[in-house]
Amino acid sequence: MQDKQHIILLFLSMFILISFVGFFQSWNLALTIFNLCIISSIMSLGINIQWGNAGIVNFGVMGFAALGGLANIIVSMPPTAKAWDAGAIFIPFGIIIFIISIISSILVWLKSGLSTKKKYIINFFLIILGYFLMRYIIDPPIKAIEAIDPAKTGYLGGLALPVIISWPIGGLLAALIAYFIGKISLGLRSDYLAIATLGISEIIIYILKNEDWLSRGVKNVNGLPRPVPYEIDLQSEPWVLELTKFFNIPVSEISSIIVKLSYSCIFLVILIGILLLLEIAQKSPWGRMMRAIRDNEVSANAMGKDIKTRHLQVFIIGSAIIGIAGAMLTTLDGQFTPVTYQPLRFTFLIWIMVIIGGSGNNYGSIIGGFLIWFFWVQSEPLGLWFISQITSHISDTNIIKSHLLENAAHIRLMFMGTILLITLRFAPKGLIPEVKR
């Protein structure tokens, strides 16, 4: 019972914190923070099932979130008609050829009885051949596609379906990529797995940044469709105007609050849905087995558990959850900007959320996501306030003071590092520790 009270208390204080923002800053900002908090919590739920339940270190959050974002483009943007005339059909064809060359080289590696040296040579030429064949096939259509009205399109476009479909698709896309990544790298030890997943996620971002035909690269994709109405349309609705009179605030503000609130409702439903599913999974025999594998691989193996498959399973599930959250984030932003995917913000910050919330506990991950995102956003004004308080007796023309004020925003990195270190040292189990079952 104690635990439940503890959890409710934490969520209540989080709610109060956010409403403080509403009262003292603005409700618009409070709702922005709230929506991003929900997305962060979903991402940390994804990491929690991997790290907290199965002990897998996945530093590829950034990559999976970006794949979710890509799903937004593929699903919801209108197709570029001319691109398909320009021979876009050859691109998947070329990529398939490259994949075939990779598969055949894997087959040579595993199945042929040649000496290691010969295998290296054959594989080298197979992959080089496959690569250049692919480039030969896909380069001309890519050039043609990127030349189509580059200021507006210059990419394949999407399927023009409702954007909400892109969330599950984002999850599926992330799951598919996670299958391949997991298949090749889950055999590695924890540190190596961390570095490998970080490296692969960087590769994914590089591809999204540079393959303009797919994601417009650094030119970004703007104006993604929305699952909720636009502010402009709301402002002419009679019931909105009535609300304006009732609350006595400008119509522009109330319309944007309505939009954000509707996002919050959708996101909350998804968060609760994922949370319930994860709780069921954790309580089920499957969850028990995952924890057994985490705590002692050798004995779990001796009991006849297939560790590799189980690890792969949990890796795919966690990554799919991150993919869904990534897709939601891009929809909320209304644009896909590959440059914004930074490991600091997407991978390491999510890890801090999981650790501080309490690894192994889903409620912990959610409160961690809320708390850390809240302070990540709010520590900028807080840092500024703090610095201006301690330097208030120094005159405004002082160089040191202006320098400190200028760099005050970076206090948040120090702040995040410090709370992570303090948590790891004094409360390694986090805010809501794992439930002993």
């Binding site: 270190v57 090749i184 790298s185 590695l188 030890r189 924890s190 540190d191 190596y192 961390a194 570095i195 490998a196 970080l198 490296g199 692969i200 960087e202 590769i203 590089y206 591809i207 940044k209 540079n210 490991p343 600091l344 390491f348 890890w351 801090i352 650790i355 320098h403 400190l404 200028e406 760099n407 005050a408 970076h410 206090i411 948040r412 990195l413 120090m414 702040f415 995040m416 590092g417 410090t418 992570l420 270190l421 790891l424 040292r425 390694p428």
Partner: protein, 337 residues
């Protein structure tokens, strides 16, 4: 003549930049490898330690320039290097005392220490940005070139010019000196030998009377030195921006792992493997073939395997390939459970 031109082209665009970048990566990878073997964790904060060292160098350089202390055409940054090395070592030791020591005594798993190092990374990154700001800093002064392309062309009468920037010269020479010193220390001195013994087998080393605290102290001294020098050289050669050092960690890890983590020679080889493959794969070979092929055989296009945008991605691709094919690296490294 044509062959010579093509060779100079390669030397100018691949060999010299490759050697420079390779040395910087190798010094960084050595730091990571030493922490990994002796203290037994992957130190993600190493990039920020390098950044911290560079920041100290920059601040000291400013102080020196302000007080009009000049050393002819020699870059001031190199003169102040010993001082900034001391600052970096002190910072590393402080971090160890307040953060890493606890987990060492607890004998925590290496994953926990890795996550701890991420906390240190955040903290140090914030501290650096707070002190020096996130902007671009150029702190190179003195003579910029050892050999200018124009002079080279005049001297030899070739079409292609060869440029050697003084930062490139300094990087290569300083790296060679540092590596020789390091290997002399590890292989010839008693302290170095006891350090290797400790990393091979902690219990046995303790039994034979090696003081672990002293080993840890020396490890941080070496790591701090390597980090400060590597960071400063990288900052001199490119330019200093705190943000880039976060992204430098991954190529450095790639270098350490490709060579075989835990093996100093491997770290050096790994650094050069990464730097040369980055350059070789993203180099546009059109001009090279222009010199050695007859005109009518020259194909269209830039003859580039991957576009230059993918330069850094190449190191990750190699990293992933090595992890898949041969996780122990080129030289068989140590694997810590």
């Amino acid at each position: 003549m044509e062959i010579l031109n093509s060779f100079i082209l390669i030397a100018n665009y691949i060999i010299i930049p490759g050697l420079t970048y390779g040395s910087q990566l190798a010094l960084g990878a050595l730091g990571i490898t030493i922490v990994y073997t002796v203290l037994r964790f992957s130190n993600f904060a190493h990039g920020e330690f390098m950044s911290f060292g560079t920041m100290s160098t920059i601040l000291l350089t400013w102080v020196f320039i302000d007080s009009n202390i000049k050393f002819g055409t020699f870059p001031t940054a190199i003169i102040v290097l010993p001082l900034s090395i001391i600052f970096t070592i002190i910072y590393c030791l402080l971090i160890d005392k307040f953060v890493f020591k606890f987990y060492r005594q607890q004998k925590s798993k290496s994953v926990i220490a890795l996550i701890v190092s991420i906390g240190v990374m955040f903290f140090t990154g914030g501290l650096i940005r707070f002190i020096i700001g996130p902007g671009d800093k150029n702190f190179m002064d003195g003579e910029r070139f050892i050999l200018k392309a124009k002079d080279f062309k005049m001297l030899t009468g070739l079409n292609e010019g060869l440029t050697i920037k003084s930062t490139q010269g300094v990087t290569i020479i300083l790296s060679i000196i540092l590596v020789i010193l390091l290997f002399w220390f590890l292989n010839k001195t008693k302290t170095g030998k006891s350090m290797r013994a400790y990393s091979d087998n902690q219990e046995l080393a303790l039994l034979s009377g090696i003081n672990p605290e002293r080993i840890v102290l020396i490890t941080w001294i070496i790591t701090g030195t390597l980090a400060c020098v590597a960071g400063t050289l990288y900052g001199l050669d490119k330019s200093y921006k705190p943000f880039t050092y976060l992204h430098l960690v991954l190529p450095i890890f790639a270098a350490a792992i490709v060579g075989g983590v835990g093996n100093p020679i491997g770290a050096i080889i790994g650094g050069f493997v990464i730097s040369f493959s980055e350059l070789l794969i993203t180099f546009a070979y059109k001009k090279f073939f222009f010199y050695i092929l007859p005109d009518n055989f020259l194909p269209d296009g830039l003859l580039q395997i991957l576009s230059t945008d993918y330069k850094i991605a190449v190191s990750f691709i190699i990293l992933v390939l090595v992890l898949l094919i041969k996780p122990t690296g080129i030289y068989k490294g140590k694997i810590i459970e």
